[in-house]
Every structure is written in C-alpha cells, then in structure tokens.
C-alpha cells in the first residue's frame, strides 16, 4: 500500500520535531564563568545631550531576564560624561555597577529611567531538567 505524500511529510516533520525536542531537552547547557555570565547594559557617550534635545532614549528594558549559572550578573555602565540614574542607583561617568544574583526570584528595582518607575529583573534557576532546558532554549529564540 502506498503512503500519501502528505502523510510522509507529516511523519518527517514529526520525526524532526521529536529530534529537536530531544536535542533541546537532553543536551546539557554548560555553566559559564567570569565575563561570560554578564548581562551588560551601557549608557552611551552623549546620551544626556541627546535627551536634552528631546530624544526618547530607552536603554534599559523594563524587564531583564537572567539565568543562574549561565547569565546571572547584571552589569550597568555609564559611559556618558555626566552622572546618571541608571538602574537602581546613581552612577558617575565611567563607573560600572556589577550585581550578582544567587537566587532565582523576581526582583523589583526603583528606576527613574523607566516610565513605570520600576525595573524588573527575573532570575530563573539553572535549567537542570529536560523540560527546563527546552524552555530555556525556547526563551532564547
């Protein structure tokens, strides 16, 4: 009995899908060290001047997502010529702020750079199970 072309295509797609899920779920995710764990946001030089001219510059997203063991260090850097409220705090020109996270949770910071006045950092646990690895990879798409 001959298979219909449609059925063959569906079976092939299903096999590929199962393969992708198996890869996403069972391929380990390597923990990182040092600078590889940093999620960096920078205020570029000239930002203050551009804001003074009326430009609406969004530098920090309302929500930052980190993952323990992979990318769990928030780094903010002020490259502008003037002090800036950046993230939760006042930063001098050329100054960096490096905040490590060790617990998966949702963190709220007051941040005057946002219209809401809040910056949210969501820290996910290290993806140790197949399902968590699939979800982690899906979030990166």
């Amino acid at each position: 009995m001959m298979r219909s072309p449609l059925r063959t295509v569906l079976l092939a797609c299903g096999a590929v899908g199962v393969g992708v899920l198996a890869w996403a779920g069972f391929t380990p995710i390597e923990t990182r060290t040092g600078a590889d764990r940093e999620e960096l946001f920078e205020i570029p030089r000239g930002t203050w001047a551009r804001r003074m001219k009326g430009e609406d510059l969004g530098i920090l997203p309302d929500e930052i997502r980190l993952t323990l063991g992979i990318r769990d260090m928030l780094v903010l850097r002020n490259l502008d010529e003037v002090p800036q409220i950046f993230g939760p705090t006042l930063m001098m020109p050329g100054q960096s702020f490096r905040l490590p996270f060790e617990q998966a949770a949702e963190y709220q910071f007051a941040c005057s750079a946002h219209a809401s006045g809040q910056m949210r950092v969501i820290v996910y646990p290290y993806p140790a199970t197949p399902w968590a690895r699939i979800m982690w990879r899906a979030r990166r798409l």
């Binding site: 928030l74 409220i85 006042l90 930063m91 100054q95 702020f97 490096r98 905040l99 060790e102 007051a110």
Partner: protein, 193 residues
Amino acid sequence: MNARTVRSFLLTLAALVAGPAASAPALKAGVFEPPRAAPQFSLQSSSGGKLELHSYRGKVVILGFGFTWCTDVCPVTLATLAQARRKLGAAADEVQVVYITVDPARDNPARMKEYLHAFDPTFIGGTGGADELAAVRKDYGIVAEKHVKGSSYSVAHSSFIYLIDRRGQLRALMPYGRGPDDYVHDLQILLAE
C-alpha cells in the same frame, strides 16, 4: 641569567598565575567600579547633635533611607541589619548603621531614636529640613515619592542599602530582600580591608 633576574622572572610569573585568585573576594552586593567617595552630609542625629558621615571614617557604614511609619520595607531591612550585626559578634563594633529619613515632617530625632532603638540601640537616624534631605537623596540617587491615602500618607522610596568602607568609599549596594548572611559575608570582607 643571574639570580636576581631569575627571581624577578619567577615573581612576575607567580603574580600572573595568581592574579585572578589573588584579587579581592567577591561581594554578594552589587559593587561600584571604580568606587567613589561617599557624598558627605550633615544632618540632625537621632542621638543628639550632628550626624556627619565623615565622623564614622574608620568604620564600615551601612547607609539606608526610609521612614519610621513605613510598614513593609523598613522594618524588614532594619531587622535584617540588626540580625547581621548580632551575627558579626565583636566585629559589629566596627560597623555603624545610619538610617536617613525620607519623611522629615514626621520623623524628628526623638521619634527616630525610639523607632531605631527597637531594632538595635546602636543604630543612628538622620533627619533635617526637607531641602537638606532632598539634597542628600539626590547625591545618593534615592527616589522618594509621597502618596496620600485619605487623611494620612506613605512614602514610596528606594529600598536598597549602601555599604561604605572604612575609607569613606561608596563600595556596594545591597538590594532589598537579601538576608543577614549576605550582609555578614560582605561586612567581613570590608572589615578585613
């Protein structure tokens, strides 16, 4: 190659190899790089007289902002700081908690003293005129907004805590919610410097 050259080469090699490991231990708090001098202030102290930051040079200062009518953030933070000081033991004598009000209309020195002593009698509060306090908040990037609720009001304010080292450098910022062990960890590092 003489002995001096060999020794110099070995020392350089050792420094290169040991470099990362020999660097300062990491704090649990967020750190400023490079650190800057903590802005000075002169306010009314809850213990009488003036509250001046430079007078605590030589101690590690834990600096927070809040108000005595706060029902959520401040009691939790102050209880955490009190617990951290207890865990430090004798080293706690080298640590000074300074809490500056964001609500000068209600927080006079006597009120702050009574409130802070309930957590730890060594805690010092700072209050002053609205403009003076606004200037201090600006220097430290502190946000404080009054929210009227019927006949009363509350003040939404930045909830993090600054850590200032013995030399008066603004070194780190501990986000709200960290436990006493995180404070103890960082204070021990700063005290050892």
